[in-house]
Symmetry: C2
Subunit: 453 residues, 2 copies
């Protein structure tokens, strides 16, 4: 039994919904289908979710937003026309949406969540109608009805563990289950949405719930690339990677999907297959618990800019019990998270996302470190990029570090910082942001595209 | 004006004291001479300080230790005979020592400190007598008389800042000042000793006190070597290194002297020259604030074993504010200091000296990390070595990391961990202890002894 999730671009038009239908019915194991709201049909298009957010804002501000509502309804209507579905379902969607928008606005966050969630909910109904129209038994299932309970956090709801037993019963439903992504219900019966990429989360939860053999995540790329294709042209596709590798790659800029979405599937040990709705015969990328290492130590390279470092030095620092802990406490007091803390004997460097610190907060933190820890020197360097070289095969592979460092040296990139701990699933290099692309290219050349000599 | 300090082996026999005399009088700037207790004359010999500790222990236990006392006195007597000094001074030393040993034992730690300190104190008197015997004006100066005040910590006394102004007056003393190393006086007039290498500390304090132009530290090697000579045969000598470099090298096993001894000289910006009593014409090694980088990026390589790592992993660790701080707090609760904390996204590794943790404490810490931080995995790995590759020239020297990592890879050494922060005065590699020597040799070959191709 498989859970199949389709992203917004896979459901943006009637033509796309047809592809979805063909994909689902081509494999009888595809039991549960999770749908997103219609996404962009072309680069300038607006996602239905974004239109709905505007609708809700219009209603909150002016009590109405007739043009926006018409635009949303027309998105569904155009899909229905393309698929030769009766107008009845569109009338129902319009009536439901107007009723929802007219509803209780005393808690704007919750109102917004409910309106956003309708994007997925109505699309699931539409998709179910098309499957039925094609003569296939399929049923829209509401998350409340299925027992998908979430915590009371608008926009960032977390699945409640007691949901899983109830969700297991989806296995016994007749026909194909068409399930809206992105939201669940609180114990009080309120609709609340997950964080971004919420449909991925729903798919992952359902895969866990029904103990699926596979969670197929259909998107609009053939596979996860080994490196950012805007930096390296036509990069190698990754056929298989482990959860850990995926997480390390996601961390530093791989945006195929939000890595946290995978947690429920990961906890249940269910493999994930990222596939392309527009090219379903391509094998895609499999995310698994363990994999054979058969194609070199490195599986992917990711990078992200926008980091800064706080360098703190104090003579005899390493004799002072509590020095590091006190620095971290100062950051914690301002809710600042750090990424890495490489240290020398008498110095420590804290690497963090610089967006977290306003100039004021930065100044305050520097003063506190100087004053409370009596530091000799505190220096902040901005605009750093972190590059992750990721691969389970790097574990105990003698020489990977040397190769990586040499390729950076040959490209004239100075390594500001290296961090490699015992996990050895990844190796991190800190470089100046201006060197980021050059560095990534050099590493890719070294590990994936060694030019013949 | 210079402060000149002589170690125990430089004063172990009459022949050695003659060398000291010749060194001091050959340069009229050598105003203050700091002396250690007589050290070993040959490999199987016992240092006077160690004999004194045994004496004190004998008196504490049995109220006497006649043979040990005789052995101590004979050490001084043999030096006096070699130097043709009258027996009067030896009789005085014996009488003083017996009086001291018979003294108040109600606070054993303080009693021990006073007995230990007599080794230096009596030797300073003997050396001063020899200088006088040679017709040179020289005066034994007692630390109390000179104003060397220390904190109330037996065996680990710290100089009190108010000492320096008083010590400056040593400049105005007539002739050469012969000053016993290793101890000072509390404000209550009690003798307390510094930590190990205490005579180096005294020399450093006096250099600061009299604002010396140079602090000469005479020992029994021609220079600081660029690498441990028990690992690499006949290694390159270091002619000049900065305080920072010295500190990084000392940290990981360079035992020429205790790096903290240099702090008072460092704070006053006074250069230190490590020289050989047995070969005083050799230039030795200069330790300075800044140096020209004229001989490659790396100045030295040091290593030390006996480290362990605690690897902690938890999925989504890096979203948890306070995770790292809490781990450090757990260590702090048991007074455990760590050396480095390389981290991945979902894991952090704490490197520390394993001697700090008994099996019980280790178990307790593991349980606490698991229980209080809900960690997925906590793994302790023992018997690691840290290798420091040190050099101010590494700062922004593209490719040093690559060279170092490649040399280790070529030697078949797996790098368990790398730590390179913004300071870039050093680069640290963690390897298994069994690989330590091989790794150090490979790095030395790479940076110092590149074989001609």
């Amino acid at each position: 039994m498989k859970v199949v999730k389709f992203g917004g671009s896979s459901l943006a038009s009637g033509e796309q919904v047809e592809k979805v239908y063909n994909i689902v019915v081509s494999d009888p194991k595809r039991k549960v289908v999770v749908v997103s709201a219609p996404g962009k049909r072309h680069g300038d298009d607006i996602k239905v979710t974004d239109l709905l957010i505007s609708c809700a804002e219009g209603y909150l501000k002016n009590g109405e937003a007739p043009e926006l509502v018409a635009t949303v309804v027309e998105r569904y209507a155009s899909i229905a026309r393309e698929l030769s579905l009766s107008n009845e379902i569109i009338e129902k969607i319009e009536a439901d949406l107007l009723e929802l928008l007219a509803g209780d606005k005393s808690k704007p966050e919750r109102y917004l969540d409910a309106v956003k969630a309708s994007g997925e909910d109505n699309n699931a109904k539409l998709v179910a109608a098309y499957f039925n129209h094609q003569g296939v038994e399929a049923h829209y299932v509401n998350p409340k009805d299925a027992g998908l309970l979430v915590s009371n956090e608008p926009g960032n709801a977390q699945v409640l563990p007691e949901s899983y037993d109830k969700l297991y019963e989806l296995r016994n439903r007749p026909g194909i289950v068409i399930f809206p992504g992105f939201f669940g219900y609180t114990k009080d019966g309120e609709v609340l949405t997950f964080s971004r990429s919420g449909s991925d989360i729903t798919g992952s939860i359902l895969a866990n719930g029904i103990k699926a053999e596979l969670y197929e995540n259909f998107t609009d790329v053939d596979a996860v690339y080994s490196v950012n294709p805007t930096i390296v042209e036509d990069p190698k596709e990754i056929s298989e990677l482990t959860y850990r590798e995926m997480r390390e790659l996601s961390y530093a800029g791989f945006s195929v999907f939000h890595d946290e979405a995978l947690i429920p599937a990961f906890r249940a040990g269910i493999p994930v297959n990222i596939k392309n709705t527009n090219n379903p015969s391509a094998p895609g990328t499999r995310i698994v618990n363990e994999r054979d290492n058969n194609n070199g130590p490195v599986v992917g390279i990711a990078s992200d800019g926008g980091f800064c470092s706080i360098y703190v030095s104090k003579y005899l620092m390493n004799r002072e019990i509590g020095f590091g802990r006190k620095i971290l406490q100062i950051l914690e007091d301002d809710n600042i998270t750090y990424e890495h803390i490489p240290s020398g004997i008498d110095d420590v460097t804290i690497i963090l996302r610089q967006g977290q610190m306003s100039a004021d907060v930065e100044e305050k933190i520097i003063s506190r470190i100087k004053a409370e820890l009596n530091a000799d020197e505190v220096i902040v360097e901005h605009d750093l990029a972190l590059i992750m070289v990721v691969g389970e095969g790097m574990r105990h592979n003698v020489g990977t570090t040397a190769k990586a460092a040499k390729s950076l040296a040959d490209a004239g990139v100075n390594i500001e910082m290296i961090n490699q701990g015992s996990s050895e699933v990844s190796m991190m290099f800190g470089v100046k942001e201006v060197d980021e692309k050059r560095a990534v290219k050099a590493l890719y050349e070294e590990f994936f595209a060694r030019v013949m000599v």
